[in-house]
Symmetry: C2
Subunit: 118 residues, 2 copies
DNA sequence: TAGTCATATTCGCCGCGACGAATATGGCCG
DNA sequence: CGGCCATATTCGTCGCGGCGAATATGACTA
């Protein structure tokens, strides 16, 4: 459900500052909840709540790995997909977003290609 | 002021359903407040309030004509501009947005090229 | 200058959604 | 099976933002 019917819903979902930061990080690399928690310096329930919203909106997928849950962007095509892409690209012009993105990337690398499974 | 510093602010501004509808209409043609009022079937104060927000965000310009005020999109370049463009383009895939857009265009034509001044 | 038309603004209310704290779930390992 | 780890969920609260109704502004005309 909630296949993100309209562009309005997409925008409302994405316009939340914290959710946008999360998406920005996931655009750099797939991440665990704990990674996002650290990179964004947010309490864990906050991260989980927003991830749930993003998942319902089909902007994000999760795959459970051990006691962790790995989140990644959905690469969905269609008109919405292009919009999401445009939004994420536009974040590249802001220092703070670039900074968090590289923190995220670093995070994902630090743990090596070991858990980069399914 | 409020030169719409960040992409976050832009998204928050645009994610409001009524404001998005207004932008959608203005993407079709410059319009008077009363036009928007009719096309979108909204009370006048509502339209004015949202236009004020859009103006502060520099998404919209207004030029006073007689006892009317003509609103039109800002054609701003830069990274933000491309994002706005992408958003407006994405609306083309939804029937309701296309419908209102053509109503707006029709409106603007009906009054002829007479008041299409500055 | 009084009246009128289009638009702008104020005020008070209400609802949605984000948050913090606490708690629940659920899988592994000893 | 008990405990622990990462994550999910609930609950109550609170603030932001949109709305309707009423009113203000401001320009033009007679």
């Amino acid at each position: 459900m909630t296949t993100l019917a309209s562009a309005t819903e997409l925008l409302v979902t994405v316009a939340e500052p914290t959710r946008l930061r999360i998406l920005n990080c996931l655009a750099a690399a797939p991440l665990f909840v704990s990674d996002l928690q650290d990179v964004l310096a947010l309490p864990q329930p906050t991260v989980s709540r927003h991830l749930t919203v993003l998942k319902k909106a089909e902007l994000v997928r999760d795959t459970s790995v051990a006691p962790f849950v790995l989140y990644r962007l959905c690469r969905d095509p269609g008109p919405q997909g292009r919009l999401v892409k445009a939004i994420l690209e536009s974040l590249g012009s802001e220092t703070e977003f670039r900074r968090e993105r590289s923190l995220a990337l670093e995070r994902s690398r630090k743990r090596g290609a070991s858990e980069v499974k399914r």
